[in-house]
Amino acid sequence: MRGIVRAAAYCPGAGSPRAGSRTADEDRFTLEATALERLLDGRPDRPGTRRIRTVGPLPSVASWAFPAWVGTPSEITSYGAGVSGLEEAMAASIAGGGPEIVVASDLDTGVDGAVAFLVSEVGGTDTPGGVRPPAADDEEAVLPAAVARWKALPARAREGWVGDWAELDRPSPTGPRVPHPDPVPAGVSEGAYLPRPRYLEGLSSRWRLIAERCSSCGRTSFPVRGRCRGCGRREGLSEVALPRAGGSISAITWIGPGGQPTEFDAQVESSGGYGVAIVELIPGTLGTFQLTDVARGELAIGAKVRTGLRRLYGQEGEWRYGRKAMPLAPGS
């Protein structure tokens, strides 16, 4: 019998003064990728996931990015947008075999965010301890019941579900939602050219903060280059995921008009500039990140930050994505 064993949600600007307003570097892909990241946090069943069902149109990057994120060959099936698409996807999951992920955004429930569900056998060994699955005696209604609960958000009880549903407990945005077209620049970038194979090569570090720890000298090097930056060794390196929150700013600058590479011209034109920081992700290991969701002056050297997946720039018909740094959510 199948059910939702885990769920995770992500809302743009959650917990920040800008809660509920999607920033210019977020799109459907970044929302769903972040929800997916929360869903898969430390999950042992990640290697087994066979199918990913996406609700609503996504940029073509999702077709290879989501399976890469899950870390195992997975098939993607797409469904129409909105709650009806979600119901269809959920119904199809009942018949599916093996663990599956359903991920959706822009569900028109007044909630501007994304949610990801892990669907699997319930009552078996893959049910996480401490989580009460849906009513076990209601076999056929298990998934529709979950969908009904989702549709009724934020009012219904959600005990037993994993994930930060509290993010959704806030007033619905008033007024029309800003439409989110995804025009992708078709031309060759005028900027320093990061060729696509090099971009893809670095994805584990760019998207998931994967670094390499040296068994010989103990240094953690970032990004992954197959070489310890401390002692130079190329063997005895093991992959480790750096924490996505809690790093501190070592250096910070604010780029004004004229200080940016040309890929970021449109961004500077609309926002006037942006911040960039070197962040000490763990003691002795640094990364360089653009800042987002923050006004000039809000962050200084020593401040603690978190990182999230955001859109960087467009090149040759494809959006490039990477992590940016932002203030910690209040209370964290």
Binding site: E190, G256, G259, P261, T262, E263, R296, L312
Partner: protein, 387 residues
């Protein structure tokens, strides 16, 4: 110890936003270099040529060294390009020193060139970001200025300094540039103007940044033994040193020092058998005002954290204890990328021979040039004395 090589001639064009194209600039600098040789020299005596250039704008990326042979009117001259971003000139000088010291080449023509204003503003910003780490620093939205902005933020915070020391570097170098007829900027700038300038990469503002400039400079280098064939007052290159560091600033041990510069300076002074107190003046790489403060500490002329107070106290002015960048530095003289390292040696050539005109320092004996690539990825240092 003793001398390793000798500069027997040197030439320099105006630096700035110029009408002249790259070929004309090269020809001008080379002609002046040949004309400056006291006893004269036949162009055919030159055995090899080195061109220091980034190739900014992409107008001629492959085989650009051949332009040196053409514009010097030395057909068939063996030539090569040397490139280490902004340290191209200083690095080329070291290759030339090796060539003449080993006896492989008797007389070498060395030129640095950059034509930066041919291309649009947008393409300039593209090329200003090519010498940092492309994959990571660039993708985070950094050009050259942004990386130095990060370094400056950390330096000022660690040393509890405001921007005044940076503004003083700008004011000093502009005052020096006003006495240099080749300088890009020949007007003075006050500390207040520097502090009030619009931000480019906070805490760096417009007057903390060197300009985008066209220009060329050239040297004729011989072995120390044969120098007197060409002049009674050669300027000897007594020692050279170089170094490098991780391309991406985030991977380095310390955000407020350039290890590449420290290594290069240590090696150059040691190979020249020169104590720091013997050095009469410095030509350092002030692509941004913060870079001059770092240079003083990296080269050991100021203790860690003391470059700011030293500068504010006037010690590095032309009339100070240790003049730094008497020609205006990159800040005021300009920074045609490949030409800068050669331009620094040109200033040494003039100053040590008493030919620096209005900006002449009183009887300098030994000098040091310091040339850095990008944000400290490479560095080349040389130490000189006069014959």
């Amino acid at each position: 110890m003793g001398h390793r090589a000798a500069i027997v001639g040197a030439g320099h064009t105006r630096f700035g936003v110029l009408e002249a194209g790259p070929r004309a600039l090269l020809r001008d600098a080379v002609d002046r270099a040949f004309a400056s040789v006291d006893q004269g020299v036949e162009r055919g005596q030159v055995r090899a040529g080195l061109l220091a250039t980034l190739g900014f704008g992409g107008w001629q990326i492959g085989n650009s060294s051949t332009l040196l042979a053409e514009e010097a009117d030395i057909p068939g001259l063996p030539v090569a390009r040397v490139e280490n971003a902004c340290a191209s000139g200083g690095s080329a000088l070291q290759v030339a020193v090796s060539a003449v010291t080993s006896g492989a080449q008797g007389l070498v023509l060395l030129a640095g060139l950059e034509k930066m204003t041919d291309v649009s503003n947008a393409r300039r910003r593209f090329w200003l970001g090519v010498s940092g780490d492309t994959e990571w620093e660039r993708a985070a939205g950094l050009t050259f200025a942004g990386v130095y902005g990060l370094i400056a933020s950390r330096y000022l915070a660690s040393n509890r300094l405001g921007r005044e020391a940076l503004a003083e570097v700008a004011a000093k170098n502009h005052a020096n540039g006003a006495l240099n007829p080749n300088a890009h900027f020949q007007k003075s700038v006050t500390r207040e103007q520097a502090l009030a300038a619009p931000p480019v990469a906070d805490p760096l503002g417009l007057y903390d940044c060197c300009p985008v400039s066209d220009g060329a400079a050239a040297l004729l280098l011989s072995s120390a033994e044969t120098a007197r064939k060409y002049t009674d007052t050669p300027v000897y290159v007594d020692g050279v040193g170089a170094g490098s560091d991780f391309l991406a600033v985030q991977e380095r041990a310390d955000l407020t020092r350039f290890e590449a510069s420290r290594r290069a300076g240590e090696a150059a002074l040691r190979s020249a058998g020169c104590e720091r107190r013997e050095v009469s003046f410095l030509e350092v790489h002030d692509c941004f005002t913060i870079a001059e403060l770092l240079a003083l500490e990296d080269l050991g002329f100021a203790d860690r954290g003391r470059a700011g107070p030293m500068t504010l106290a006037g010690e590095t002015r032309r009339d100070g204890r240790l003049p730094v960048n008497p020609d205006g530095g990159l800040k005021a003289k300009g920074h045609p990328i490949g030409a800068t390292g050669i331009s620094q040696a040109y200033e040494v050539f003039l100053q040590l021979r008493g030919a620096a005109g209005a900006r002449q320092l009183p009887s300098p004996q030994r000098a040091l040039t310091h040339n850095v690539g990008g944000a400290g990825a490479t560095a080349a240092v040389a130490v000189y004395s006069v014959g």
